[in-house]
C-alpha cells in the first residue's frame, strides 16, 4: 500500500516537473515592409507616424497555438529603414522608433540621429536591453515613428521598416 502511494507521489512530481521544464526555442521574427506614411503635409519639427500590426508568432514558430506564458522574451536585433523617395531621408534630422499596445506601456526600441544624407537605407541603433515580450502577447501592436523634420514639406513622407526580433518561447 505504502509502495503504491510512494509511486503515485513520485509520478505526480515527475509529471509536474516535465510540464514545467519545457524546451526553450529561439527564433527570428521579421516584420518586413512596415510602411509609415505621413499625412499630406509634414511640418518642421517633430511629427508622428504610426501603424498597427498583428504579430503572428505561432505561425513563425511553426506551432498551431502560442499562449501568453509561452512567450519569454522579444528583443529587437535589427531595424532598417528604406525609402524610394527621390529626396531620400534628407529632410529628416532623426527618427525614433517605439512600440506600444492598448494594454502595455510604450517602449523605445530604436533610434537614428543624425540621419545621413543621400541615403535611401538607414540602419538604426537598436535598444538591446528593451524586452517587448509583453507587447507581443497582445493581438495588436502599434509601431510609432517620431521623425524630426528639418523644414515644412508639402509632399507626404513615406518609408518602410524592416525589423528583426529575437523571440524566445517555451514550446
Amino acid at each position: 500500500m505504502y509502495r503504491l502511494i510512494y509511486s503515485t507521489i513520485l509520478l505526480l512530481i515527475y509529471a509536474s516537473f516535465s510540464s514545467c521544464i519545457r524546451e526553450k526555442t529561439v527564433f527570428n521574427y521579421e516584420i518586413n515592409n512596415a510602411e509609415f506614411v505621413s499625412d499630406d503635409m509634414v511640418f518642421e519639427g517633430s511629427n508622428t507616424l504610426q501603424l498597427k500590426y498583428m504579430p503572428q508568432l505561432a505561425q513563425a514558430a511553426g506551432i498551431s497555438t502560442l499562449t501568453e506564458d509561452q512567450i519569454i522574451s522579444v528583443k529587437l536585433t535589427k531595424a532598417t529603414l528604406s525609402t524610394e523617395d527621390s529626396m531620400h531621408f534628407d529632410n529628416i534630422n532623426s527618427i525614433t522608433l517605439q512600440l506600444s499596445t492598448d494594454k502595455t506601456d510604450m517602449q523605445e526600441i530604436a533610434v537614428i540621429s543624425p540621419v545621413s544624407e543621400n541615403s535611401d537605407q538607414l540602419n538604426m541603433t537598436v535598444s538591446a536591453e528593451t524586452d517587448v515580450a509583453e507587447a507581443f502577447k497582445q493581438k495588436e501592436i502599434y509601431l510609432i515613428a517620431d521623425i524630426d523634420v528639418k523644414q515644412d514639406q508639402t509632399m507626404p513622407i513615406h518609408f518602410k521598416a524592416a525589423l528583426v526580433f529575437e523571440i524566445t518561447i517555451k514550446k
Binding site: F43, E44, G45, S46, N47, T48, Q50, N93, S94, T96, Q98, S100, T101, D102, D105, M106, E108, V111, S113, T125, V126, S127, A128, E129, T130, Y142, I144, D146, I147, D148, D152
Partner: protein, 156 residues
C-alpha cells in the same frame, strides 16, 4: 454674503459640470510646461495619450554645441535620442471628468521616470502630478495650453 456664497457655489458646480462633460481628447494639443522651457505636444496612440517635447527654449547643449540629446537615459543605447521629440508623457488613460491616469512622466534632467496623473483644471490648464509610490508624495506642475498669439516661436 449669502448671495456671494451662492454665486460661488453655482460657479463651482458649473465648472464641475463642464469637466464632467469634457471630451477625453481635450487633452490633445500643444502645452507649455510650468517652467516655460519646453512645449509638449499631446497625441493619442490607440486609446492612450502621449506627450512629446516639440520645442525647447535652449535646444543646443552648451557643452557639445549640438542639439540636446537624452543623455541621462538609463538605457545607454538610447542616449543619442534627440531631446526634441522625446516622449516624456506616456500611457495615460482617460478616467473621465477631466482626469487621465496610469501614465508616467519622464524627467530628462535626471533620466528618471515617475508615476503621473493629469487633471484638467479648465480647457487651457492642466495639473500634471508626478509622484513616487503614492500620489501624496510628489510634485504638481501647472501646464498651460500653448497659444501661438502669445508666442512668436514657430511650432508644429
Amino acid at each position: 454674503m449669502l448671495r456671494t456664497l451662492s454665486l460661488l457655489l453655482s460657479l463651482s458646480f458649473f465648472s464641475l459640470d463642464i469637466l464632467a462633460q469634457s471630451n477625453p481628447d481635450d487633452l490633445l494639443g500643444l502645452w507649455t510646461a510650468g517652467s516655460g522651457k519646453v512645449h509638449v505636444k499631446i497625441e493619442k496612440v490607440g486609446n492612450k495619450y502621449y506627450g512629446k517635447i516639440v520645442w525647447l527654449k535652449i535646444p543646443i547643449d552648451p557643452i557639445t554645441q549640438k542639439p540636446k540629446t537624452d543623455k541621462n537615459n538609463p538605457n545607454e543605447s538610447l542616449r543619442n535620442t534627440p531631446l526634441k521629440g522625446c516622449r516624456i508623457l506616456k500611457d495615460f488613460e482617460s478616467k473621465g471628468e477631466g482626469v487621465w491616469k496610469n501614465g508616467t512622466i519622464y524627467d530628462p534632467e535626471n533620466g528618471k521616470t515617475y508615476s503621473c496623473y493629469i487633471k484638467m483644471r479648465d480647457i487651457n490648464t492642466l495639473d500634471i502630478r508626478g509622484y513616487i509610490g503614492i500620489s501624496a508624495i510628489g510634485r504638481t506642475d501647472v501646464w498651460k495650453r500653448y497659444e501661438p498669439s502669445k508666442d512668436d516661436v514657430k511650432l508644429h
